[in-house]
Structures are given as C-alpha cells and as structure tokens.
Symmetry: D2
Subunit: 298 residues, 4 copies
C-alpha cells in the first residue's frame, strides 16, 4: 500500500524506512529539503510542497504525521484539511495530549487515528509499540503499515475510540518515570552502601533471569558500561516531564492515587532547583525551636 | 562435578534438576523422604540422613543449601560444621539477611557463598539470576554449578565479599516492590480512567517494543489473561514485605532516600489494615474545624 | 459603616453577627426566609429580595457574598451587576478557585475582593483569618469590616491583586491536608505501637509546650476526648479534596514538588476505594513470579 | 523539695532556673566549673564532684540528668549507681532512644523516669512539654519538679512504663519533621507561584485564626521577619535526623505506613547530597531510550 509521511525528523525517518522495508510505497514531505532528500535516498517518493504531497497520494489518502506535538500538528492539519474527505485516514504518531487528539478527531474531515509510539531509537531495528485510538475501520485499513512500523502484529493494537491511543501512551510514560526512579533508588543505595560493587555487573546479572529484568535495566547496564561505575560527569538533572505531568493531572481528575509516579515527577522538578525553598525553611526552623546551627551559603 | 543439595522444596528441586541436566552428579537430602525420593527419581543420589549425605560427598565438599532463611540455615550449618574443613564450600541459596550471611561466613569452617537467587518458578526452565558473595576461589570452584543453575554464564556473578550476594538480592527485591507498584498505579489509572480498555491488550502492546516492557509486565499480561480485565476476585491485600523492609532499613542506615521503595512497602502495610487510624482521625478532624459531616461505620 | 451580606448559611450568619457586634449596620439577604429571619433576630435589616437588598444599601455599596463557591457566585454577581458601579465593593468570602476570582474581578463593574476565610465554626467567637486579594483602596475601605470578621487587625491582610486571596487560601488548605495526615501518622503509630497510651493525654501534653503544638492538635485532643482512644465508630474515609487538588495542580504548573501534600490528598482518594486495583495487581504478581499464595475475596 | 541536676548545658540551666523559681532547692553538677558557677549564681548549691553532689542530696535522692543522649548517660549512671537505692529517682531528660531507656531502667537500682522534653529554648520562659515513662510512684514523687519544668500541670503526664516517655517523644519528633516539611511545601509554592507575596504577612495572617496556626508557623513568621522574604543566605541543607530515623524504624517494625514522615526524613538526606545518583541515572536513561540530550557537569 501507499503511505504519505509528513515530518522527517529522527522518528519520521524510521517510520519511512520501516514502511519501505516492508515493501510499501512512501511519499515523504518535510519543510527541510535535506530531510526529504534523505527519505528519497531511502527509496521514498519526494514531495516538494504540501500540495505536491497531496497530489502524489492515492485517492484514498493514508497519511502519517510525525511532527512535534502541539501547534505543528494543528498547522499541518489546517493545511491538509481542504484536501481531505471522510474516506481518508490521518495518523498522528506524535506525543499529543489525548484531549487535543479528541478535539482534532472531531475537527478534521478525515478519519483520525491517534497513535502513541514507544520504543525510542532502538525501535529503528526492533520496531515500536503502537497504541492506537480512533475508528475501527481506519485502524484495520492501516494495519499493514502498523505491522511494519511496530515490532509486528503483536506490537500494535486499537485501544479504543479517539484519544485512547495517546491516553494509554500518556499513562505508559507516567509508569516509565516511576520505573526509572525505582531502578535509580536501587542503584543509589548500592552506590552508597556497604560493598564496592560493579554496577554494570549487577545490572547484567539481574538482566539475565532476575524478576526485575527489563529493557530499562538493559539501558542501565549500557549506561554503567559507557559512563563508568560512578556515571562520570552525568549531571543531577532530569529534563522533560510533560507526559508525567499529564498523567498526574488525569489521576487527580479521576481521584486515583499515583504516589510513585508523582514522586518520580517531583524528583525531576527538584533536580532543576538548586536550593529548594522548603529545605531552606526547615533548616531555619530547626534554629527556631532548637537553636540548631543554621547552615548558611558561603 | 559433584554437588550436595540440602533442602528439596520447590526451589531446591529446580536446582537439583538443572544441575543434573548439565551433566553433574547430585547428592540430595531433605527431612522429607518424599522430597528425597523425587530427587532420586530425577537422577540424584539419595541420602538417608545428614551423616549419610556427608559420607556420600567427595573429599572436597560442594554443598548447596536451599532451606528457608532463618533458623533452618543455622541449624543445618551447626550439624554440618563438624564435617567441614576450609577446603569445602557451602552455598546459601536462600533469602537470608546479609548480616546473617556475614556472621555465618565467619562462623563456619568452610568457605561460605551467600547466593541471592531471583527468577521464581519460571527459572526452572530459563535458569536464575544468581548474585554471589564470598571468597573468589570458592566462587570459581562452583562456576560449573552456577552456570547450570543460572541462565548461563551471564546469569551469575560474584558481587564481592561475604554478604554482598544477599545484599544485592535485598536491594533487587526493594526495587521489585517499587516496579510492581508503578505498574499497578498505571493500570489502576487505566482501569478507572476515561476509556474502556482491554488491559491484557494494553500489556501485550507494551510488552512488544515499548520502553516499559519487562518480565513483570509479562506477568501483568498473564494476570489479566487469567483473572480477567477486573482481576476477578483477587483481593486488595499484599502479603510479604521482609526484604523490602530490610532495604528501607539499610537505606535509613546509609541515609539514602528511597521514597518509591518506601511507598511500595507502605502500600503492603496499608493493604492489611482495614481501617487506617490516620484516615479515621483526618475524617474526624474535618468535623473539628469545618463541621464537615463525620462518616461513621454502619 | 453599613455592610450588605448575601448568603446566610452557617458562615454567613457568623459574619453578620460579628459585624453587628462590632457596632456596624448589616443588611441581610438569603433565598431562605428563615435564614433572613435569623439574621433579623440578631439585629440585621432584613431584605425580602435582591432588589430590596440593593435598595436598602448606601450609595457606595459594601457587599459580602457568603454563598457556596461555584455557580451560585456567578448567578448572584449576574443579578447584582446592573446595580453596581466602580465605587462599590464586593467581597467573595467563599472558597472559589483563584482563577474564577480573577475572571470575576475583571467581569464585574464593582471593585472585587476575593477573601479566603479560615478558622471554621470556632471563628464565630475567635474571629477568622482573612486572606484578601484585590484593589488596595477597596481593601482599605472594608478594613472596619475585616477587623470585625477577623480575629482583629492581625487576622487579615491584603495578599496582592485579584485572585491572591483565594490563591493563598488554596495553599493554606493544601498545607492543612498534610498537617492532618502528619498528626494522623504519629497517632496511628502510637495506637499500634509498643505501649498502651492514652492519646488524649498525649495530645494534651503536646499541646502544652511541645514544638508540634497547634490548633489542629487541639482538635485531635478534642477528638480523642469525644470519640474515645480508638476513635469509636469513626470510619476510614476522608471526604472532600477540591482545594487540595487545586494546590497540587498549581504546584504541577509551577513545577514545585509537594510530595507531602500530594500524599495526604492521595490518602483521601485511597480511603474511598475499598479495593485498590494497584494492590490487587501486586497481590497477583507475587504469585506470578514467586508462586506466593493469592489472597482472594471470600 | 530538693532536686539534684547533672548536666548544665543550655537545657540543664533552664531546668535549674525553673525549679529554683518554683521555690525548690537545687544541687547542681557539671564537668564544666563555669557551668556550675552559673547555676550557683542562679541560686543552686554547687557540687564540686559527683561524690560531693551525692553527699549534698537528701537521703531519698531526686536526680535530673540533662546530659547528651548516648554514652554520657551510661557513664553518669555507672558512676551514680553505687550511691543509689530503690528509693531514689533518676530522671533522664535527654533525647535517648526508648530501648536504651528500657535497658537503663532495668539496670539501675533507682527508679528511672525517661522524660521526653519538647519546647526548645522558648521553654525557658513558657515551660516545656514533658512526656514521662516509668513507675507511677516515682512520677508522683517528682510532680512538683515536673510542674515547675513543664508549662504547668497540663504540660506533663506519665505516658506509661519505662521507655514510654522517650517513645512518645520520638514519635513527636517524627511528626515535627513532617509538619516542617508541610509548611515548607506551602511556602515553596507561594514563593514560586503567581503572586509576589509577603510571606511574613501570610504567616502572620494564618497565625491569627487560620486552621493551620501553630507554634511552628509562628517560627516561620519569625524566620521570614529575620531572614527576609527569600530567606537570605539560609542554605538548602537540613542537619539532624536521628529521632526521625528512629520513628521510621519503629514504624517499619510495627508495619505502620508513615509516608509523610518518611518523605520529610528523605528530604533531609537528599539535602546533604549534592548530586543524587538516582537522578543522574534517570538523566542518562532518557538518552538511552529517547536520545534526549544528556545534561553533563561543566
């Protein structure tokens, strides 16, 4: 089948390559001519503009958007919409908030599939996990493409109606924060504990048969191998946090306690604040009631 | 080589079988004659008493203890000790506290290897992850046995001196608590969220390529498949907790914050207490300052 | 001076009484004739309708709204607005979200003061703590009324521009959740600990000179006195939670970690859910990897 | 009555002064001659040695120890013991672990009262809160002294048998950690939130009538007044932590969840660690699965 891909960043190129490798046709477009040229080198048909892109597609258009979540999605959809009918299908493979996806599904003339994508760069070879929301017929229609982009048929599924794909991906990321922090606590204890341990060896031993083996633990193993046992110059700073924030916001809305996810998100916030006000106040209060010496900045 | 195994419960039998399958000889003993008979059926040499067990071993004894952590280990060691020399090796494959292992290593005449064992019943086929502490020569000596019991050479390693094997296993379990709770939070949110989701399908999709894929997530998938999407009659009750408690105690000692592990342990405690006092007091206090209606037991 | 009060529930009546006691005039209105009659008994001028209420006010109107946060505030303001000019002042003494207050301050023709009110029924005698947001001149104008309703001049202050009063009150309530839970944890440990303790005596001893003495601890003392050492039939259920939820939402927005407030809020959510899904899954997973017995509902 | 006081540090001197002010006699001893001289200036009888101290006491000795918790208590008791009978009473007013107090109560010939003391330097004028454990007759006997040292009769009580005084004090301190952190979170949010707020004014307004008013909040008010709205050069560092650690250890033992106390203790540990390993690992893992840029130390 034929797939049009808009957005040829790192993830978009992987989608193009995997779909081509599965024997499908790809029409590729990006604002960067370089990116389009790279896709063409890989075997895709290059589009020189959005109009050109639309012209090159079959009558029943199958389009995969891999543009940054946010305004870029809306801008692209606005431009596409005049060319779309209700027999076309648009997949949003980015990390949009599920409420945006519900809104877009209602606004666009085409069938809209929100597609949570997980697996990172490693997915280039292994394929991704795809959590898809939207109309059943559109999901069925795109199945050959999902088979190619995912790890295979088991690596994608329709979660439910519009928004459910990005909803499940949001929760996936919330859990991811907590898993990372859980491993981090374990290794922090081992790094500060009673024994001089080789943390790469610990990770490797755990990854081979232990209950807590996982892909994230394989990444820990890789981190210790590449950065050293003390993680070298890796800083005490965790960027990001939007999907984790969304998860906690939704959990508040649903009144579901998610203390581990919340704590993991808090560690991110805390890691960016050099002098936490709450701790400074506690330091000062200990003087207030106990005349304990106040520790002051030098 | 020849290995003597004392303790033929579920895990002990698996050790016997895997060592036999690797072509080694096994002398097996347990207080239960039935258990000894089962080991004999599998090809082990049956010992009728501890004396008989010792007599059947080669001059340089290699002994694997797979008895419940605690007094049983000390009782067995007390009985064995008169028969041991410093050329013998004893492996403790159970879940002992690392300080007990340090003490036992000092007390016994033999070389003592504390061996944290992870992998559960699934390890019968796949092999285990073995975290070993103790003298290097003894670890080298037992390598063929560890190769057989573990998933292979990558599934075991010497962590360091006496106690380090059980130390790393303790932290492993602390992390395990947090990982389970992290997945639990994610699924609790999905089960109470905006979409009717098939949690087995969610787990399967995640297990195929997503960042959070893991063996524990495969067990989640299995749980939803076997118990149903709402977990059927599975109760809100989590037993166990000793290794998690040890982990938090050690983290307190080392002044390392482990809030996720602590929280996961707390959920276990909380799950066994039908009416938490702190919540009952909060309920009452809201009346105290706001005349909010007190909710009372019926 | 003269104050018009709309909304004569428990808190509204207290406002009426305190303002009358301070020697001011009050015009009172409520949809309930009974409530109006009660205010009249206390010495207020009774209004039979909103029109009548407005007619009875001085040219420069000073109005205190004490209606339930939400639609009732908007409905009342909609009705009032045609009668208001920019020389009038409206105080919203309820528990509105600060963003609603910002919006209302912009929408109404009068000067708008959002007034966070804390102190509960005990404030009837002692006076309240009033956190006020809005234009400085309006705050100055209402000072005699604030002096009367608050514990005195020290019990009220202008926090800043529109919304800041309800903002500070929101954070106050978030802290309140955490304080209640902190005391609850302490008493839960004492109730389950090594000694048979008289918790009323503990509270009283603490309230007389200890670092943690507070009004909430006085309410704990009262609770043990009135309900008994085991809190009798008070249920493990905490209602409410909206201001705590707002606090956490704002903290997420500002990327400020508030783990104690979050945890206290979580306890509320958890206390209303008889069988937490996350715990049920953990119970089941322990069987998955360790063949630990599954606890099932009977 | 007559009281012997050993240990004339800041707290010991306060005990001496308050007991003298109540019209009792005091015999004072300390290894520092200066400290003894200060007590003598205040009206106490000065002892030049422990033997001299004992000689100056009445036949039925009433002794208050105010020495640092730990070895100093044991050393003093060892020296005193030959002079004691079962009609004597020793009060340990320091911050000992309750298990030490149980042990000492069993070891000493005298009646032993463990006395948790809270209130800090402010107690010099107001008196302290005293939580006392030990034999009832000894507590009764010392009542005049407790009346003088405490805020009055309501400021002291017998909690139960040996150890219970220090047990209740331990929990008191655990709660104290959580309260401080709860206020800290609130002020951290206000300091980083949407409004420029005067935090001293906020504290003062809250302290006058609000639900969360407390002595600790008065200390917050004082801190903002003395250090400024941004706490000036007060560092992000919280010392101490032993009583909080004991509280969590005991809660683990009793299987009582204390997540707020634990979190507050964790903040102390975290505040002393400039580059948390868990966060550094999370930073690195985000590269592992998402190629997010690694933040590195400069």
């Amino acid at each position: 089948m034929q797939l049009g891909v808009i957005g040829l960043g790192r993830m978009g190129q992987i989608v193009v390559n995997r779909v081509l490798d599965a024997g499908h046709d790809v029409v590729a477009f990006d604002l960067s001519e370089e990116a389009v040229a790279a896709a063409a080198d890989a075997g895709a048909e290059a589009a020189s503009s959005l109009d050109d892109f639309v012209d090159r597609l079959d009558e029943e258009k199958r389009i995969w958007l891999m543009v940054p979540a946010g305004d870029a999605v809306d801008a692209t959809l606005d431009e596409l919409d005049p060319h779309l009918t209700d027999r076309d299908v648009v997949v949003d493979g980015g990390n949009s908030h599920f409420e945006q996806s519900v809104r877009r599904a209602e606004a666009t003339k085409a069938a809209y599939l929100d597609c949570g994508t997980s697996g990172g760069p490693a997915g280039a070879e292994l394929g991704f996990s795809l959590m898809v929301g939207g109309p059943e017929w559109a999901y069925e229609e795109l199945t050959p493409v999902f088979d190619a982009v995912a790890t295979g048929p088991a690596g994608h599924d329709r979660m439910g109606p519009a928004g459910s794909g990005h909803y499940v991906k949001m929760v996936h990321n919330g859990v991811e924060y907590a898993l990372m922090q859980a491993y981090g606590e374990g290794f922090e204890l081992l790094a500060n504990g009673r024994y001089d341990l080789d943390l790469e060896a610990v990770s490797r031993t755990w990854n081979n048969g232990a209950v807590i083996r996982s892909w994230l633990l394989e990444l820990c193993e890789e981190a210790f191998r590449e950065e050293g046992n003390d993680l070298g110059d890796v800083a005490d700073h965790i960027s990001g946090g939007s999907t984790g924030t969304w998860t906690v916001q939704e959990a508040l809305e649903q009144e579901v306690p998610v203390p581990l996810i919340y704590q993991a998100l808090s560690e991110r916030f805390g890691s960016r604040d050099e002098a936490r006000f709450s701790r400074r106040l506690a330091n000062r209060l200990r003087y207030g009631f106990g005349r304990h010496e106040i520790v002051r900045e030098e």
